[in-house]
């Protein structure tokens, strides 16, 4: 799995740490770290929770189009 740079940049844009997102979504910081590094494939529920925290849509953060990826 490739790194999720979209999520990382969205988090940086909101000036949030991994810990902030982890607390808001009810998971550990290591889980958020694993998602950003592409080491873990999150469930749709967790994806939605992350999107709500970051104010983005699922497409913005988790859709990989063939042209850019």
């Amino acid at each position: 799995m490739s790194k999720n740079l979209k999520m990382k940049s969205a988090r940086a844009a909101k000036d949030m740490s991994q810990k902030d997102i982890a607390d808001a979504t009810g998971v550990t910081r290591q889980t958020i770290n694993a998602i950003e590094n592409g080491d873990y494939n999150p469930s749709i529920n967790l994806c939605i929770a992350i999107c709500k925290v970051l104010g983005k849509t699922l497409n913005d953060l988790f859709w990989e189009d063939d042209v850019n990826e």
């Binding site: 009810g26 998971v27 550990t28 910081r29």
Partner: protein, 148 residues
């Protein structure tokens, strides 16, 4: 989301490691039974099973802590280092006291402790505690490594 238990990644890891360690336990016990059947007795009966159980559960806990799947998000803030250290000291003291008491009371004249089962269990417990301390150190190093 559930903040009391483990999160979804931790549950996934825990299930995966649990399955692997269960199979390891099964294979180790079958190997031990096979060796026993061929007449090779590396340790007498109660100690061999307990040692295999201790090793497998030790590896299980070690891998859980290493993959950060031992405590959930709600208890992550706690750092019970002092509590763990005191528990280790008390465990070692109790294990040592039991061996001394068994030797003093003359219980060792029976066949039950003539097979070195008590020292082996003491060593196994000590190794398990050493593993626990090592995992604490590994976890701290990992926390520093993957910090943003």
């Amino acid at each position: 989301m559930n903040k009391k238990g483990l999160d979804e990644r931790q549950l996934h890891k825990k299930n995966m490691i649990g399955n692997q360690m269960f199979l390891l336990l099964l294979y180790a016990l079958m190997l031990d039974a096979g060796l026993y059947g061929f007449g090779f007795r590396w340790i007498s009966y109660p100690a061999n099973v307990m040692l295999i159980l201790t090793i497998c559960s030790g590896i299980y806990v070690f891998r859980l802590i290493r993959s950060n799947a031992y405590v959930g998000p709600s208890t992550e803030k706690e750092r019970p280092f002092l509590k763990t250290f005191l528990m280790i000291l008390v465990s070692v003291a109790v294990a040592g006291a039991i061996i001394i008491l068994v030797n003093i009371s003359g219980f060792s004249s029976n066949n039950q402790t003539g097979d070195m089962a008590a020292p082996i269990l003491f060593i196994a417990a000590f190794v398990a505690l050493a593993v626990a301390v090592t995992t604490i150190i590994i976890k701290r190093v990992q926390d520093k490594d993957d910090a943003e």
